[in-house]
Amino acid sequence: MIRIAAVGDVHMDQDVIGRFRPALEHLPAHADVLLLAGDLTRHGTESEARCVATEFGGLPVPVITVLGNHDYHCDQVPEVVAVLEEAGITVLEGSSTVVDCGGERLGIAGVKGFGGGFAGRCASEFGEPEMKDFVRTTNGVADQLADALCTLDCDLRVALTHYAPVPETLAGEPLEIYPFLGSYLLGQAIDSAPTALAIHGHAHAGAERGRTPGGVRVRNVAHPVIKQAYSVFHLGNHHN
C-alpha cells in the first residue's frame, strides 16, 4: 500500500509561515509522499516561494508539486521554481517523477493545466486569435499530461494538476465559472493511461470527490475544501 498526502492552494506568504508545520512534523506517520496541487503562493513572487520553501521544504518525505495560476501572476516562474527545487521540492510541468515507496514505485505526472470547460459546454478553438490561443493552451498541456502519464514506468500512476479534470469536484462553485476552473481535456489525458488517482486544487468552493468518464478517482484537495493541513489517500497496486 502507498500512502499519499495532498493539499493545494496554500497561498503562502509571511503571514502563513508556521501554520502547517505542526501537522507536517508528523507527516511520516501518515504518508510516504506529499503532493502539492498548485497555488503555493499568493502572487508568484520569489519571496513568497521562499515562504513555501520554509514551510514545505526539508520534510522527511518527498514533496512533489505543480504550480497554479497564482504562482504565475508576477511572471517569476523560473525564480519560483528555482527556490522550490533548491528546497528539495520537485516541480512538475509536463513531466513526471517516480518515488520508491517501500519497494513500490509511485509515478506522478503533473501539469498546471488550464481552463476551457467540460463536454458539451466548453470553449472551441474557433474565432478570435485570443480564443484559439486559450483553447490551444489547454490542448497543449493536456497532451503533455497524457505523454507524461503514458511514458511512466512505475507500479501506480497519479496525475497531479492544479485545474480540475472533471466537473464533479467543482460542485459548489457557480456554474458560470466552470470554464475557468478546468477542462475535460485533462480528464481525457488522465483516462489515456491506467491512472490510479487524479489530484487537483483550484476550486476553493468545490467538492472533494469525483471520477473521470474512464473511472479514475479524482480528488479536489484545495485547502478550503479539505479543511485540514492535508488529506491522506491509501492506494493499493491492483489499479495498474
Binding site: 500500500m1 503571514d15 502563513v16 499568493r42 476553493h204 468552493a205 485547502h223 478550503p224 493541513a229 493499493g236
Partner: protein, 90 residues
C-alpha cells in the same frame, strides 16, 4: 477600483462585480475564493482565507472603497490540523 459607474452607497450588480475584482486584482489580497452576494441592502462576504491578517485586510479594503455599503462578513480562517483518518482507495 472600477472603470464603470459604481455607486458606493448602493448595493447592486456593479458593486458586487467591483468587490469581486477588488479582492482579486487590487493591493496584496489576490483572493479569488471569497463569495460576494447581495442580500437586500447588505453585501455578504463569505469564504475562507489562510490567515486572520488577510480577513482583516479584506474588510479594510472593502470598507475603504465602499464606505457607505453595509457589510455582513462570514470569512473564516482555514483549519490546519493533522488529518485524523485516511481515505482508503485500494
Amino acid at each position: 477600483m472600477s472603470k464603470g459607474p459604481v455607486d458606493p452607497h448602493r448595493v447592486d450588480e456593479y458593486v458586487e462585480a467591483a468587490v469581486q475584482r477588488l479582492l482579486t486584482e487590487e493591493g496584496e489580497l489576490a483572493e479569488q475564493g471569497i463569495t460576494v452576494t447581495r442580500r437586500e441592502h447588505t453585501l455578504v462576504l463569505s469564504g475562507e482565507v489562510e490567515s486572520p491578517r488577510r480577513r482583516d485586510e479584506i474588510l479594510r479594503m472593502v470598507r475603504e472603497q465602499l464606505p457607505g455599503v453595509q457589510l455582513s462578513v462570514d470569512i473564516g480562517v482555514t483549519r490546519v490540523h493533522e488529518p485524523t483518518e485516511a481515505e482508503d482507495l485500494s
